[in-house]
């Protein structure tokens, strides 16, 4: 069936390139030129959009950027002062998210890669359910977090509730990254460990995890970026309060929510929103660059060694 389709495609292509008459040949050449222009125009548009966006945020945020922005508490609903408590809350949210998602994700990934029968029904089911979870809109995860963590478990609007909601959202990413790392690291190594008579636990701790560590770390860095960028799921789980959080049970405002609040609810808050967005973008770009650098350096070397 595929061959037929391909042949049909080839027949169509013949019509396109080898036309009988000179005029038709000229038209084909014109079409080639127009298509090239179109592809370049699309690429320029994409690059231009990125430049426009980042340039606008950088130009708007740079004037408000200063040491005191990072070191002071916000004043006048965020129009003045800094974003220190917001940075601390963001860090705590990401910390809670990581400390829950990492062990769970790793455990599930090891189970999928090592224990679940290859192609077995249970493994397939877990993977499908994780895929479904990854597709749930973040606002619905916010509803879930608010129902389970804030209400049922009685955590209220708190950093803990927000961080746990983030952990639920990060779980599919964590499992996928860890499973891929384990699979790539395994194979020869696993057989060698078995030949040495190592048990499952020893193989995992001393052979597989160290070998998969670079891939895991790249996954962690990317996951931190995702968690730091999330907004909608935090709106009614971690709350809006912009004071310095005293504990994980306090409400805390993430950087992304701060940007939203300044842009939408605080007249004259735009330049501070820009500055906060610039800080967030800078953090994310650094994380992205770090992940890329680690992947290039460690994963390439690991592949070269194999």
């Amino acid at each position: 069936m595929l061959e037929q389709r391909e042949l049909a495609g080839v027949g169509e292509a013949r019509r396109l390139v080898l036309p009988a008459r000179a005029g038709a040949r000229g038209r084909a050449r014109a079409r080639e030129g127009a298509a090239g222009l179109g592809a370049w125009a699309a690429a320029l548009a994409v690059a231009g959009l990125l430049g426009w966006l980042v340039g606008e945020i950088a130009a708007g945020g740079a004037p408000a950027l200063s040491w005191s922005l990072l070191a002071e508490a916000p004043a006048d609903a965020g129009r003045a002062g800094g974003i220190l408590p917001i940075l601390v809350s963001t860090l705590l949210l990401v910390g809670v998210c990581l400390s829950v998602a990492l062990p769970l994700g790793l455990g599930a990934a090891v189970w999928l890669a090592e224990l679940a029968a290859a192609g077995g029904r249970r493994g397939r089911w877990v993977r499908a359910s994780l895929d479904a979870l990854a597709g749930v809109p973040s606002i619905v995860m916010g509803l879930f977090g608010s129902a389970l963590f804030c209400r049922t478990l009685g955590l209220g609007y708190s950093i803990l509730a927000g961080g746990l909601t983030l952990a639920c959202m990060a779980l599919p990413i964590a499992v996928r990254a860890a499973e891929q790392g384990l699979r790539e690291a395994a194979g020869e190594l696993r057989r060698a460990a078995a030949a040495l008579g190592l048990g499952r636990a020893a193989t995992l701790l001393h052979v597989l995890l160290p070998a998969a560590a670079p891939a895991l770390l790249v996954g962690v860095v990317l996951g931190i970026g995702r968690a730091a960028a999330e907004t909608a799921a935090l709106l009614f789980t971690s709350g809006y309060v912009d004071r310095m959080p005293g504990s994980l049970l306090d409400s805390g405002r993430s950087l992304s929510i701060h940007i939203y609040d300044l842009a939408m609810h605080v007249p004259g808050g735009n330049h501070r929103a820009y500055a906060s967005a610039l800080v967030l973008l800078a953090v994310l770009l650094c994380l992205n660059a770090l992940a890329g650098w680690m992947a290039d350096r460690w994963l390439a070397r690991a592949h070269a060694r194999c």
Partner: protein
């Protein structure tokens, strides 16, 4: 018990603990989506049982405190914003992938891919801020206040563009090299190769990418919330304000209680159903792609 036996039993318990940790996390990871569905359903259920799910679509207006729960205009809002965004982003994204594979000079391929990935990594709230400050004033020149359906479509199109572009890129990269050799042997030009060989062969992957972009567009909250104007009505034209399902939940969850709150969870269920239908369609295309 000799030290050796003790160590052996210790190792056994470590092994058992490890196994239980793995099983436990796998069970939790696998069951989480069911838990999400169960909690959202449980919160919405009292309302659904009392007035019935149909009322969500048949009620003429949304006045939850007065017992009217019509979210029809919101469904239209989501469909219009997301549909328009995907219609704008799909051709541009596919063209971008075609550029990477057929037109870009070798030195540009890596930086260009990196740029598209960066675009994918920008948080939605930053897109929203950018659109609010840049796009909305531009549209306000056509007709104030500028927060409207078109603004939402445009910003969402920019946001889902990298999804389409990266997916199309990956599915073009998966095509077997014989295709290019065959095309070259026929003396095909680049565009002829793209139109008659590459795009038809990568069809399933391209469709899956566009559908995933639609999943992202339907589920997106922040940017839509910030630039669409959020009036509950089916928009008369592109410059009229509109409210999407996601923005609706985000706007009213903060102060909702009782049946109002339950109605918002029911709105979440409708959203889940839309996303579920799209994901199902992706799987359908994925399977077809494997068979072909």
């Amino acid at each position: 018990m000799t030290w050796y036996e003790r160590r052996a039993s210790c190792r056994w318990s470590a092994e058992a603990a490890l196994r239980w940790w793995m099983r436990g996390s796998a069970a939790l990871a696998g069951g989480l989506v069911v838990l999400v569905l169960a909690f959202v359903l449980a919160e919405a259920l009292p309302l659904l049982l009392r007035v019935g799910g149909g009322r969500l679509f048949t009620d003429a207006s949304w006045q939850p405190t007065a017992g009217r729960f019509g979210i029809g205009p919101l469904v239209w809002g989501t469909l219009l914003v997301a549909g328009g965004a995907v219609a704008l982003a799909a051709p541009l994204g596919i063209a971008s992938a075609v550029f990477v594979h057929f037109y870009a000079p070798q030195a540009l391929v890596r930086p260009y891919r990196r740029a598209v990935e960066l675009l994918a990594g920008i948080p939605s709230v930053v897109y929203g801020l950018w659109a609010l400050v840049v796009l909305v004033p531009l549209l306000a020149r056509l007709r104030p206040p500028g927060t409207c359906l078109l603004a939402g479509m445009l910003v969402l199109a920019v946001m889902v563009l990298p999804t389409v572009a990266l997916f199309a890129d990956a599915s073009l990269a998966r095509l077997p090299p014989e295709l290019w050799r065959g095309a070259a042997a026929l003396g095909l030009g680049r565009w002829a190769t793209v139109r008659a060989v590459a795009l038809p062969a990568a069809r399933a992957g391209l469709a899956a990418g566009v559908l995933l972009a639609a999943v992202r567009a339907v589920g997106e909250t922040m940017a839509v919330l910030m630039v669409c104007g959020n009036v509950i009505a089916v928009p008369a034209d592109g410059l009229a304000p509109v409210r999407a399902l996601t923005a609706h939940i985000a706007l009213e969850m903060g102060y909702a209680a009782g049946e109002h709150r339950a109605a918002l969870f029911a709105t979440g269920l409708v959203l889940l159903a839309m996303v579920g239908a799209l994901v199902g369609a992706v799987h359908l295309f994925g399977r077809r792609g494997h068979h072909a």
